[in-house]
Structure formats: C-alpha cells, structure tokens
C-alpha cells in the first residue's frame, strides 16, 4: 500500500509549531569517541551537518612564494534535535575538541547550556585537551564515558582520579547507542549547569 501523502513528504522534520524556546548544548570529545552516535541516538530528526569554513595559518611554507600559506579548510559539524516539551527544543552540536577549531567552537558554544565531554577509557589522555578547552571557555560541562564493548570497565572513582576531575564535575558512564543512558548524561549536564547559575533573588 502506498503511504498516505503527508505535509512533510521530504522527511525534512519541520519544527513543532508550538516550539518557542530553542536551547543548545555541545557534544565534544576526540575523534571517534561517539559524538555523532550519541546525537543520532537522541535526535528526533536524521542527523544533519553543516560545512563550516575555517581559515588558519599553516606552518607549511609555500615553496614558490616563500610565504606562510593561509589555508581554508572545511569541517563538518553534525547536529540533531530533541523536542523536550511541546514548546522547548534542544539542539545538540557535535563539535571537534581540537584547539585549532577554537573560533568555530566559540561560535557554536555561544549561548549554549553547556558541554558534554565524551571520553573513551582506552585513550583517556585524548580527552585532556578537550576538557582544558571547555574549562577555558567557562562553559559548564559534564563528562560522559562512552562504554565501548571492548573497552576496559573502571569504577567512577578510578576514572575521576585519572581524569583529574573536580568533585563538582559530573561523571556518568553510558553507551552512546542507548537512549536512556544518553538522556541521563544530558540530565547530569543540565543539573550541573543549574548549580552554576545565580540563585534567584529572595522574593521576601
């Protein structure tokens, strides 16, 4: 049977008409840590990406002119969307954690609720630079250990010690392919962001 025509035959995934408030957070971490997987797990639309141009001074010397080359490269930023209430929609941007992406990072992180830093226990050290960058930005963050099936399991205490985490920084362990755990990671980040916001003025 042919499927009935719908107003959204293209599969674009238009915004709910009641959506009034759009929030965003950054999902970051080293290459291959599962950023896009987590976004795909949570997103109600097929994950999309934008091509973002980055201009950077290359250390390479142009052999013909003898001048430092300025190169423009593009990087694809994956993102997804999760309607949390009828009127409240959360966007998740998968943002590379390398220092050379900093200008792009700042642009995407501006106005964001916070960052979820994904970690792979097989290469904890790869996440240090990312955590430094997020801290320098002053963005609230939570650490989510993406439990790969073949990665060694560690207790939270051991991971906290090796990641040198502040006591107040949330640490969750999840499987980025699994919805419940990924939502819990977002909740940990949102709770942490809330604690960092100024308390409302006493109404009395």
């Amino acid at each position: 049977m042919d499927s009935a025509p719908s107003p959204d035959r293209t599969g674009v995934g238009y915004l709910p008409s009641a959506a009034r408030t759009l929030m965003k957070l950054v999902v970051t971490g080293p290459f291959g840590v599962g950023k896009t997987t987590l976004i795909r797990t949570l997103s109600e639309i097929a994950t999309l990406h934008t091509e973002e141009a980055m201009t950077q001074s290359s250390t390479r010397i142009d052999s013909t002119a003898g001048l430092p080359e300025k190169t423009t490269t593009t990087v694809a930023i994956d993102f997804g969307r999760l309607t949390v209430h009828d009127d409240l929609v959360l966007y998740m941007f998968g943002t590379p954690g390398q220092e050379r992406f900093l200008p792009l990072w700042e642009d995407i992180a501006r106005g964001a609720l916070g960052a979820l830093v994904l970690v792979d226990t097989r290469r904890l050290a790869d996440s240090f630079a990312v955590m430094d960058m997020v801290e320098e930005q002053g963005l609230p963050y939570a650490v989510a250990v993406n439990r790969f099936p073949d990665a060694p399991a560690h207790s939270d205490e051991v991971l906290r010690k090796h990641l040198d985490l502040d006591d107040t920084t949330p640490l969750v362990q999840c499987d980025a392919r699994e919805r419940r755990g990924s939502i819990d990671a977002l909740i940990a980040l949102a709770e942490h962001a809330l604690t960092r916001m100024p308390q409302p003025e006493d109404a009395s």
Partner: protein, 117 residues
C-alpha cells in the same frame, strides 16, 4: 563530527552579492525562519528561491536550512536576513524574552528530560 566530503562549497559571495555583512542584525544559528504568504518575486535568486521552497511546509532554524540547502551557515544568515527585509520570511530569536538562558528555562528542560520515554 565527520570529515567533510570532498565537495566544493558554493562560495559565499555568490549568495551574498559580494557583501561581507548582512543588512541587519546577525541572526543566531538557531533563529527560527518562517515563510510568509508573500509571493516570491520572479527575479528572486536561485538560493533565495530554494530557501523559500524549503520553508513552504513549515519552520526551521537557520542551521537546519543551511544543512538542507548545503550552504554555509553564514551565507544562510545573509539570505534569510535579505528575505526577511523583503517580507518573504519572518525570523524569531531562539529564546523569546530576555534572550538568555535562565534558571527557569533549565528547570523546565530538566523536567522535560526526566519525563522523556
């Protein structure tokens, strides 16, 4: 993040007519774009027409439009700003009132996240 495909982007100047700034305040990448009833003029550019066509069935953010049209976000901001100035689109900031995340918003987000299936 995935490595970008080996495809040439449409140069931004082809969309922007060579200008480096849009004719209005810069739109947030999460600004919501809504198509109005205004008729798309016959001399509208290809990219302007594509954006209007995309938004015909419903609203999308700037960044979603950029992704669907394979345009840079900055070029999409230009297009949307121009189309809003000529009455073809309405634009709405992502956070309505104060334009900032406050405690009540995060509290609502938490209630929503906790009640997700």
């Amino acid at each position: 993040m995935t490595p970008g495909p080996a495809r040439r982007l449409i140069p931004a100047y082809l969309v922007t007519g060579g200008r480096s700034r849009p004719a209005g305040p810069a739109l947030d990448r999460l600004a919501v774009l809504v198509r109005t009833d205004a008729h798309v003029p016959d001399d509208a550019g290809t990219q302007a027409r594509r954006l209007c066509d995309l938004l015909e069935p419903g609203a999308l953010t700037v960044v979603e439009c950029a992704a669907h049209l394979d345009l840079p976000v900055s070029a999409t901001v230009f297009l949307a700003t121009d189309l809003a100035a000529t009455g073809l689109l309405l634009t709405r900031p992502p956070i309505p009132s104060a334009g900032q995340i406050d405690r009540s918003l995060v509290e609502r987000l938490l209630v929503g996240l906790r009640s997700l299936p």
